[in-house]
Amino acid sequence: MAKVSLRRLSKRFPSASAPAVDAVDLDVAHGEFMVLLGPSGCGKSTTLRMIAGLESITAGELAIDGQRVNDVPAKDRDIAMVFQSYALYPHMTVFDNLAFGLRRRNFRSTEIERRVRDVADTLGLSALLARKPYALSGGQRQRVALGRAIVRDPKVFLFDEPLSNLDAALRVGMRGELIKLHHRLGATMIYVTHDQVEAMTMGDRICIMNGGKVVQIGGPLDVYRDPVDTFVAGFLGSPPTNLLPGKFDADRLVIGDNGLPIERRDVPENVIFGIRPEDVTIGGDGAHARGEVLAVEPLGAETIVRFRLSGVVQDVLVRGPRTVAARVGESVPLTFDLRSAHLFDPATLHRIV
């Protein structure tokens, strides 16, 4: 267990014009599961690699348990990392893969044996200890990679998109196991992913990054409900938040040819109106707008309906119940849950309300 703090941590690669990681501030508490989430190229993996000691730090400070570790080599930071590619040593058996790190740290061979068997038992690898990685399935390799981290009993676990090479069914299974593992070990874990479902389900907190900067840090539901800007609103959720340009006119917010009864309070005249697909109801009495159905996507448990509002360029996506009787081309009344809606400043893209 350990806490990890990043103070204005930056990384600039020699050939790049913009920094890959730009003054990141982040505190990961004892035993916390922190997810770094963002689109590819947002600097999340580079941040993780700096914490691991695999990438040098250009500026800022990195501390583990209050100790500055900027210049401490990876091997002395007492961290373990699980890679997307698993990075199993192809010439070693599963046993040796698990024992490799322990051997270096001068554990007695009986202790190594005990630890490896323990971890193999928990991960269901006992029957595979004599195999080489090429004779394992993707899921088994993933377990070995995980076991190699656990067996060391490190201060901090780092995960770099560990589930992205697995097929969908296995991924859901491993997600559950990782959550259980975190509860059992109570260890500090930092987990990089671009998959928001992983982030939402696994993270105690999520740190959303974009363009090398931290955009928002918070609990999964907090960042989902209260995005700080249009990036977070548009990135989280599937489908994401509908973002529509609007303009205040007296006591109405005019969006295209539709007026919403929203009072203007200390906000600019022009705003971006954001509403989640599940906060729009098809039909209803106080219909705020009418939309023409463009497409209906039944997903089984729910139905995603794509609408065009008159006078609005952007399509509006609505998450409806399993049974939506909307036909393409039909015009349908829509009701917005205005208490859950957000307004963003079109200049700064930050949330105003």
Binding site: A52, G53, P73, K75, F83, A87, Y89, P90, F100, R148
Partner: protein, 291 residues
């Protein structure tokens, strides 16, 4: 190809296709037979000569041995100094190949793994020395060895062999080392290993097929090397096998029978090393063997 031929009879052959199929097979067989004769013929010829005496050979160059003179091998080994030549060759080639393999794979590891200024420039400089034919450098080499007191010594010859073969060795190994995924090195770093240990415990074992390829190439090339040896070695007791064999080519008389026996002795290690490493060699040449 054996499988191809064997599988034919089980296929239903129509009356029309049978003669053309047959013809194709005969043609193919003829080509293969011709190539085999071309490649193996001289070898068999030398092999028969190795158990015939020179006088027998001069009577009929191509005759099958009437009496098998196996004693010629013992004679060559003990009386004609082949044991000394063999030992010298073994010493020079084994030490040169050992140094080449270790230094070459270390260099390849660095070129493939580390970002440092002038990485590509250095790599190109080393590799570009391949284009110089040995005749250009040999006089300079001769003078350097004389100045360092290494002329006419096995150590000097071994060092020259290392220098001559290093660029190609680095080239062969670098392309393989570069294909080892970088995550493996990161994982080993986090597992607590230093760069030095990572080379020995991760890079080297994974690159074994490529290293085997380099070992075979270098061994065969250096085992047969003549030009550098003939310029840099003069003393009888320090001759390598190719020089020893050449000793039987006099101005007036060539002891052809003894030369053939010497050649057969010289071939043994090459055949052995092929047998030992061939599986790895094939892996090395065909492999993206890492995954």
């Amino acid at each position: 190809m054996g499988r191809l031929l064997r599988s034919r009879p089980f296929e239903p052959a129509t009356a029309r296709s049978f003669p053309t199929q047959m013809l194709k097979r005969v043609a193919l067989f003829a080509i293969v037979a011709l190539y085999t004769a071309f490649a193996a013929g001289p070898f068999v010829w030398v092999a028969t000569m190795s158990v015939r005496t020179t006088s027998e050979i001069s009577l009929d160059h191509y005759a099958w041995p009437a009496k098998w003179h196996w004693e010629k091998f013992a004679q060559a080994w003990f009386n004609s100094n082949y044991n000394v030549y063999f030992e010298n060759s073994l010493l020079v080639v084994a030490s040169a190949v050992a140094v080449l393999t270790v230094v070459g794979s270390m260099a390849a590891h660095c070129f493939a793994r580390y970002r440092f200024p002038a990485n590509r420039v250095l790599y190109f400089v080393i590799f570009s020395t391949i284009i110089f034919p040995p005749q250009i450098t040999i006089i300079a080499l001769f003078q350097i060895l004389v100045q360092y007191g290494l002329y006419d010594s096995l150590v000097g010859l071994a060092l020259v062999y290392v220098a001559v073969q290093l660029p190609l060795t680095v080239y062969v190994l670098e392309s393989f080392f570069a294909r080892i995924p970088g995550d493996l090195f990161d994982a080993a770093r986090i597992d607590g290993y230093s760069e030095w240990l990572i080379f020995w415990k991760v890079s080297l074992p994974i690159a074994l097929p490529a290293i085997a390829t380099a070992v075979i190439l270098n061994t065969i090339l250096l085992w047969n090397e003549f030009l550098y040896a003939v310029v840099l070695i003069t003393d009888e007791s320090r001759r390598t096998l190719p020089l020893g064999i050449q000793r039987f080519m006099g101005d007036q008389l060539e002891d052809v029978g003894m030369i053939a026996t010497g050649l057969m002795i010289a071939i043994v290690p090459v055949v052995l090393i092929y047998m030992f490493f061939s599986e790895k060699l094939i892996q090395g040449m065909t492999a993206g063997a890492v995954k």
